[in-house]
């Protein structure tokens, strides 16, 4: 596809379960970002990838959160032992290069609900 693809679009899980969220960036985009969007909170930076490495993981809220990127393409965000406060929309974005003024292209997000 031409845009950033995320799956699943919706995920309902029980507290304590693990979840995996997937992101397929635009082909050729070397930079990939994960943001979290909570109601009324704007977008919160989680992690940034340049290629397969993550120079900045500073936004990950706790050690229950991890992410990886393989082949310079697909990325997976994993949340272990989910808590209710993890409920949010998780947005993935990619850009051609990791430039400070580079345009971010966002996917439609994965809405996570933790019961």
């Amino acid at each position: 596809g031409a845009g950033v693809s995320q799956s699943p679009s919706n995920k309902v899980t029980e507290k304590g379960k693990d979840v995996e969220l997937r992101c397929d960036p635009i082909s050729g985009h070397t930079a990939l970002y994960w943001y979290r969007q909570s109601l009324g909170q704007g977008l919160e930076f989680l992690i940034y990838f340049q290629g397969n490495s993550a120079p900045d993981k500073s936004g990950l809220p706790s050690d229950r959160f991890s992410a990886e990127r393989t082949g310079g393409s697909v990325s997976t965000l994993t949340i272990q032992r989910t808590q209710q406060e993890d409920s949010a929309v998780y947005l993935c974005a990619s850009s051609l290069e990791a430039l400070p003024s580079g345009e971010l292209f966002f996917g439609e997000g994965s809405r996570l609900t933790v019961l």
Binding site: Y35, L43, Y48, G59, L91, P100, E103, E108, G109
Partner: protein
Amino acid sequence: QQQVKQSPQSLIVQKGGISIINCAYENTAFDYFPWYQQFPGKGPALLIAIRPDVSEKKEGRFTISFNKSAKQFSLHIMDSQPGDSATYFCAASRPNDYKLSFGAGTTVTVRA
């Protein structure tokens, strides 16, 4: 804490009116200020961006005004249309910093 404060949280404007959204920041190192537009169920998309060396940038009906001394910038939507109904986010980043600090968002509703 939020590095970019955005207001109002929501606004309603009549078709043809002007929508104004304001943002303020504290970090004087910020040098790039984009606005993103988000429709329900979609991801945000870049609308317009400005750097501090200019005080105003216009693209069609959308204008960013920038006041460096006040550390404020705003988005004006002229001749607002129902299709402009969306959530708008201001953001800022520092030189050589690839991550954006976003405001909390403003939901704009344009009534026909």
